[in-house]
Assembly symmetry: C2
Homo-oligomer: 344 residues x 2
């Protein structure tokens, strides 16, 4: 097993999750950019060396996680596949390629049924994963025809340096100094701003476009109309999303609540009396996506729309955990096939 | 002139604005609860004493701002009116009373035309004011039939103690201490949560209901369908809102942009190339509401929907400034009438 981009936030989260997974029992090779090569990372009670990545490092690797950015994936993923690896790519490099499955196991795990190893599987964008975990059970029941998403995204989605500078700004604030802005280029503490991804000619930023396109691919259905406004808020690592849905068929609030309570990977947090709903501080470190503020939308004919508020750990279900779940699904299948062919 | 609730965040902002207004030229009487009575507040280069409020303190007062909470307004506003004052009430106590005008001067200033002094005028809820400043010019042009609002609300809306505790949590964070939670009851720094107002049986909280009801009253039109999700984010004093609109008649993005650029009290901040859009840190202290992320909604037939992102200083246009603008409108009218009748 290999992790390319092991020293980043997602890489470290992958190591933490894999150390508790059967997948982590074998040897692990950790790769990073030239600056981090030569260091070590904690691994299963010991440490593992971090090496420089290159096209010739994948011999004997059966599974490779890529989380070092799209450029590295485009440069090296094919080499890993050529060496015989299943590549699970956390970047946007291959997500929209028709022959690459884009998978949230609880949502479209069956997209892996026809997967032929070796090859590439894409891990969706964090906001998309978190939204679809909550919306898909409702979509299956009532058919989502339109979705309006507003995000409240954490610093972790932009990486280590972003998170550190947000924390640095808190120190600056308390010390009465001007805020350090080397990475973020603006005050982030006690502020928020439109998502820091490029804006297209239609005025949507890349993060918003991902949410639209990836949802269509994961649902294998282009018909739901989707708009999104993606915003960075001064939160460290869990994303929140306010989601407004329009249905094709009526779905009562009670039925929606029941569907969500029964959905895998979801925890309903919806205590109206105590005013307790999903919060990023509570979602941080959890595997489940928290869902609350479940209510029939009063702006649509009763039963034809619903409002939700979701929070999910951007680094876990929004990235590393989902990637590991994909791998577990692939390798459980392979293991079964292997033992079946051995028995033959 | 009197200010009831002078020591609160809105009260202090009122003093700052009134000190630069012709309205502030006369004597001012400042009132607050028993705990603050006996203190002083800065006023036009000197200080003014803060007294305890009661029903008998309004003799000779022609204009009284109330910003001490709904209970105080319900208790004392009638006494102020009986003494001959125009009451501008910043609380929700009288907003939905049919005989009380609910006014954003740029939006429905004409609702003051029939106002008979003395009497009560209600200042709308902050989120409503900020949203309607941006949406009304578009509503007038194309007829808003549906509006989906997601808010990113600052600590200031919940008062002094809230703001102080958020800043205290930053100190706690930097010092490595557990967060102080005496007022807010949860981590707020690096976190967010559903708006801290009571939830009704339909699952909407009071802040969301205000946005719906007050919009209908201010527009004098119950037909637009409105849903909202109100969220507190760790920002000190400017509110942000992502607004999705559906129109009755087509409105191009270019026309919307032109209408907003020409609208009073609005500043368009919409630089796609530089990724610069409204931010609460920039809206803080400004009179204008910032509007950006103006784009045709791709989830609706082209021209029939629009997405916006707005930021406004919750204490200025969202509260104190709007109240002063109402007063200036009333007293300018009275002044004109007075001089007209003198001339007669």
């Amino acid at each position: 097993m290999a992790i390319v981009g092991a020293t980043g936030l997602v890489g470290r989260e992958l190591l933490a999750i894999l150390s508790c997974s059967p997948l982590g029992r074998g040897p692990v090779r950790l790769f990073a950019g030239a600056r981090s090569a030569g260091t070590t990372l904690p691994w299963r009670g010991a440490t593992a060396p971090v090496m420089a990545a290159g096209p010739d490092v994948f011999r004997g690797v059966d599974l490779a996680f890529f989380c070092a950015g799209g450029e590295v994936s485009r440069e090296l993923a094919d080499a890993a596949v050529a060496a015989g690896a299943v590549v699970i790519d956390n970047t946007s490099a291959f997500r929209m390629q028709p022959d690459v499955p884009l998978v949230v196991p609880e949502v479209n795990g069956d997209a892996l049924d026809d997967f032929e190893s070796p090859g590439i599987i894409a891990n969706p964008n964090c906001s998309t994963i978190i939204a679809l975990m909550a919306v898909t059970p409702l979509h299956r029941a009532a058919g989502v025809t339109r979705m309006v998403v507003c995000t409240y995204q954490a610093a972790s989605g932009a990486g280590h340096a972003f998170v550190r500078e947000l924390q640095q700004q808190a120190e600056d604030h308390v010390a009465g100094r001007p805020y350090t802005q080397d990475i973020i280029g603006r005050p982030y503490l006690f502020n928020l701003f439109s998502h820091d991804s490029p804006i297209g000619p239609d005025g949507y930023n890349e993060e918003e476009r991902k949410l639209v396109r990836e949802t269509h691919k994961i649902w294998d259905d282009d018909t739901p109309r989707i708009t999104a406004t993606c915003v960075r808020v001064p939160v460290l690592r869990a994303h929140s999303e306010a989601i407004n849905l329009t249905f094709n068929e009526p779905l009562s609030e009670a039925d929606a609540r029941e569907l969500l309570a029964a959905a895998p990977g979801i925890r309903v947090v919806d205590d109206r009396k105590a005013n307790r709903f999903p919060e990023p501080a509570e979602a941080t470190g959890l595997d489940e996506v928290l869902v609350g503020r479940i209510r029939a939308d009063i702006s649509q004919p009763m039963g034809m729309g619903l409002d939700l508020f979701v929070c999910g750990d951007q680094l876990r279900k929004g990235a590393a955990l989902n990637a590991v779940q994909i791998a577990e699904r692939i390798f459980a299948t392979s293991a079964t096939e292997a033992s079946a062919s051995t028995a033959r």
